[in-house]
């Protein structure tokens, strides 16, 4: 079914955004070289690549956290990874894969802990998350302090997990992350239908025989893996931003899950890469926080600019609407006053019409003047011929609607939602309108 549908406006928009991002990333390289004298050394390339790959994965998985209303779960899970890192270090030493496995286990345990708290007590979700976040993090800090008190442990770099340390990423880390990430993405593709179903309608999924508990656990586990992979880059405190920010940004551009996930992955890759490159400009700018700042800028841009939902477009639309309605109301006022004082084109004193309305009268008059429906003469405002015509049609329309409300049942007219600002002929069939017009003529005679 999907294959036969012609690509809509929205589809094209997403590809345009992706293309724009790609263009900006391509521009960023020569730009940073030319303006800031950044040299893309081997280290910078590795870090940027690592950032992009990790950003890609967390962006894709983060969409599900955002859509399921579990953004803060991501926060708790990432904080909870810290004691795992510390314990893994105590047991296995500074081996990255061991540290990540430890982090994953701790954060998975915290997930079960939250579930147990919710199932057996009356504590609410946000409190449970707060408890887990604070206590696991404290355990991690206490263990790190213990490790630091050990005289000759090579603990250097462990606290990188707190704030993230992209500069410490080396080629084998990137390889590990891409391998694990590929597995995560494959799982995502494999269980796409199931994940989509439990995300949007878990009850429906359950009723259709999907094992929602299992699917939820699998999805949460994938999110845990994603968080753990991203820890090196963003650190436990900021990881949640890297997880959800691309998803929130992508959500503004599209209503389709497929597109949202792809877009979020691209956003994530861009933030990861760009944050790494920017922080390479100055050794005092930490990478993790920089990535979060870049991600938030993307979110802000999306919130403001995304077509349809964006704040900017919404404001513009509201202003346009306000202008249209102000013009409509002012024209009605002018027309009514003019009719009451002679003919439809008799002038209306300026102070009178301004005094009637508030600021909207001002707005309406300006709009009418711009559309040359009314002119300001010596004696006041005067409706032009087109203005009179429109006002007359509007009044007639209003009357027909009033009649519709009154006689719809008697004349057995079809039932529609009344919308007085809309042309009645556009909502009612012609014969129904004809009946109403006959009624109008009949009442005019009487």
């Amino acid at each position: 079914m999907k294959a036969t549908r012609a690509p809509s406006h929205e589809d094209r928009r997403v590809w345009l955004v992706i293309g724009g991002i790609a263009l900006i990333s391509l521009l960023l390289i020569p730009l940073s070289q030319a303006l800031f004298g950044l040299r893309f050394t081997y280290t910078v390339r590795v870090v940027a690549l690592g950032g992009a790959i990790l950003g890609f994965i967390s962006g894709a998985l983060g969409c599900f956290a955002v859509l399921r209303g579990e953004s803060l779960l991501g926060d708790a899970l990432s904080h909870a990874a810290l004691p795992g890192v510390a314990i893994a270090f105590l047991l296995a030493g500074r081996e990255l894969s061991a540290l990540l496995i430890g982090a994953g286990i701790a954060s998975w345990l915290s997930l079960r802990f939250v579930a147990a708290l919710l199932a057996t007590t009356r504590i609410k979700r946000d409190t449970a998350l707060g408890i887990v976040l604070a206590s696991f993090f404290a355990a991690g800090i206490a263990l790190l302090a213990y490790i630091q008190s050990i005289p000759d442990a090579s603990q250097a770099g462990l606290d990188h997990f707190i704030f993230g340390q992209a500069a410490a990423i080396i080629e084998s880390d990137v390889r590990l992350a891409s391998g694990a990430g590929l597995v995560v993405l494959c799982m995502l593709a494999l269980f796409w239908k199931e994940f989509k179903l439990v995300t949007f309608d878990a009850e429906f999924a359950g009723a259709n025989g999907f094992r929602t508990g299992l699917i939820n656990t699998l999805l949460s586990t994938l999110i845990v893996v994603t968080i753990v992979l991203g820890l090196q880059l963003a650190g436990v405190i900021l990881m949640v931003g890297m997880l959800i920010a691309p998803g929130i940004a992508a959500r503004q551009w599209t209503n389709k899950l497929e597109q949202m996930v792809i877009l979020a992955a691209v956003f994530g890759a861009f933030t990861g890469g760009a944050g790494a490159v920017i922080s390479a400009l100055d050794s005092d700018i930490p990478t993790g926080p920089m990535i979060i700042v870049v991600a938030f800028i993307l979110v802000l841009l999306s919130l403001a600019l995304a077509p349809g939902r964006g704040i900017l477009w919404r404001q513009l639309r509201m202003r346009a609407n306000r202008r249209v309605f102000a013009a409509l109301n002012t024209r009605r006022d002018l027309y009514r006053y003019a009719l009451a004082h002679g003919a439809a084109d008799s002038p209306v004193p300026d102070d009178f019409i301004r005094g009637v309305g508030d600021r909207s009268a001002e707005l309406g008059l300006r709009q009418l003047q711009a559309e040359s429906q009314a002119t300001l003469g010596e004696a006041g405002w005067q409706l032009s011929e087109s203005g009179i015509e429109l006002a007359r049609r509007d009044r007639r329309n209003q009357r027909l609607w009033a009649l519709y409300r009154r006689y719809a049942h008697e004349l057995s007219l079809p039932s529609v939602t009344e919308d007085r600002e809309a042309e009645i002929a556009s909502l009612l069939p012609a014969d129904a309108v004809a009946k109403l017009e006959a009624k109008l003529a009949e009442r005019a005679d009487a």
């Binding site: 926060d75 007590t121 604070a134 355990a139 800090i141 008190s149 005289p151 929130i248 930490p286 704040i311």
Partner: protein
């Protein structure tokens, strides 16, 4: 803070001798416990209301921004106004508290735009504000009081060393100038470095410099040996007064506005209708939370502080249904956690179980070689102890604990089994099928139970004297009859049923 501290000390000196007070305050443990306890009390009081309002994570948001507020205010103070950077300055506290309230407004704004869910708005806002703060810290601040480590865990263990001295008797300030007998004059070569010559060189020129000139406060004058009479000094850790003020403010707020807080928490609409302004109450609460978060920043850092807001009220919430009791219990839990936390950091759980033994046990069990001496972060240990108390409450709470819930479930299952068996017997007693329906050996078949389960239930019923066994069949005793009747009446709504017997 200084005059306030003085008042406080004068008050305390009515009860304890000066030396004892000094000795008490000189102990890192006492000071840390005191500060931790005070933070825990104010945090728990405010956190109780946050929890009941479903806003626990607002404290998370606020604690993250407070860092940004502190960093920005710190930079403004040091860079723009050229003041001394002191993280307990009132300006800094005021600025950071404002920032805290600002975050709540920001997340609300983000959420009200209708484009982002509430949790996403929070999850977006705090990492961002925290990230900006971290960037500012690592880019612009070189102060020890504001490095990343302090942000994480605070410096509660060092609080005892950072004191104001207060003098009560023999308070003689001394000004040492060059003519003072105690002045130590040293000769300093002024052109040695310039000319690259040694001070022994003939062309070296010297000036006399006073090495210890300056104004001496009584405390410094005494320790430098400039005074004959020992001044009566009290060294008071700076953080105590700040946290004490914070706690008293919180207490006063909760006591004064108890009625308003209770009403707006449980029934905002009614409060609004009665003219209590829930929104104003809400912002007051948030302002106080920010204030406490700022005040606690020095001691426990900016992340661990949320534990003091969230965990003790959650533990109290498991223990009681009454607000007043909850407000009593949660500070207790918090303060107890702070008290035992110091011991944990130094390697003792509840002051009796050495952590080192535990590590040794792990070492032996898994063949590891971990260092057994446990010396860890104090603030993190306090949080861990609070968490441990929460776990205890979770397991042992008389009403909502794991154990009591499990017991209750077992009990009600048992009671239900008893009752259905009694009802079954009563139904079939005296009927033609009684022989087949009530035979002990086959009774379990009618319930689709295992024979063992039926055996247990029957044994219990017999022990309670509710049934008798007659000729291999079950018969109700009088008491059993009465029990079965009662069951019918209560559970089945016997009034609506035709009486079968």
């Amino acid at each position: 803070m200084m005059p306030l501290e003085r008042l406080l000390i004068e008050f305390l000196l009515n009860f304890v001798a000066r030396d004892e007070l000094n000795a008490f305050l000189r102990s890192p443990q006492n000071t840390a416990t005191l500060i931790g306890g005070l933070i825990a009390i104010s945090g728990a009081l405010l956190g109780s209301f946050l929890l009941l309002r479903g806003m626990s994570l607002a404290s998370d948001a606020i604690s993250h921004t407070v860092l940004l507020g502190i960093v920005v205010a710190f930079l403004l103070m040091t860079r723009v106004f050229g003041l001394e950077g002191d993280t307990s300055s009132p300006w800094l506290i005021a600025g950071a508290s404002l920032a805290g309230v600002g975050t709540v407004l920001l997340t609300e704004l983000l959420y009200r735009s209708g484009l982002v869910r509430q949790d996403a708005a929070l999850g977006l806002a705090f990492p961002l504000l925290f990230a900006i703060a971290v960037i500012l810290v690592s880019r612009f601040v070189d102060d020890v009081h504001l490095d990343e480590d302090a942000v994480l865990v605070g410096e509660i263990g060092l609080a005892w060393a950072n004191t104001n001295s207060h003098c009560f008797e023999n308070c003689e300030s001394v000004t040492v100038d060059e003519d003072h007998p105690a002045a130590r004059m040293t000769r300093l070569c002024v052109n040695c470095r310039e000319l690259g010559i040694s001070p022994r060189d003939e062309s070296a020129e010297f000036v006399e410099v006073c090495g210890n000139c300056g104004d001496y406060s009584p405390a410094r004058a005494w320790s430098a040996g400039l005074l004959e009479l020992e001044p009566a000094l009290v060294f008071f850790p700076k953080s105590i007064a700040a946290t004490l003020v914070m706690t008293l403010l919180t207490l006063a707020f909760v006591l004064l506005f108890y009625k308003e807080l209770k009403l707006t928490t449980f029934d905002g609409a009614l409060a609004q209708a009665l003219g209590f302004r829930p929104a104003v109450m809400n912002y007051c609460l948030m302002a106080l939370v920010s204030l406490v978060a700022v005040g606690a920043f020095d001691a426990v850092g900016s992340i661990l502080v949320i534990a003091f807001f969230i965990i003790p009220p959650a533990a109290a919430y498991l223990l009681t249904d009454r607000l007043a009791l909850m407000l009593l219990l949660s500070p207790l839990v918090g303060a107890a956690g702070a008290f035992f936390g110091y011991d944990l950091a130094r390697g003792q759980v509840f002051g009796i179980l050495p952590v080192a033994d535990g590590i040794g046990l792990i070492n032996r069990a898994f063949g590891l070689a971990l260092v057994e001496a446990w010396d860890s972060s104090i603030s993190a240990s306090m949080v861990l102890m609070i968490f441990m108390l929460f776990l205890l409450a979770w397991v042992f709470s008389p009403r909502y604990g794991l154990i009591s819930t499990a017991l209750r479930r077992v009990n009600s299952r048992r009671r239900f089994a008893d009752q259905v068996v009694l009802a079954h017997i009563r139904n079939h007693q005296g009927s033609p099928q009684a022989a087949s329906e009530l035979r002990i050996a086959t009774l379990h078949v009618h319930f689709r139970w295992t024979p063992r389960r039926m055996g247990r239930v029957l044994a219990r019923l017999r022990a309670l004297g509710l049934i008798r066994i007659v000729n291999g069949g079950a018969v109700l005793t009088e008491r059993g009859e009465a029990r079965a009747q009662a069951f019918r009446r209560t559970m089945l709504g016997a009034n609506n049923l035709p009486d079968v017997s």
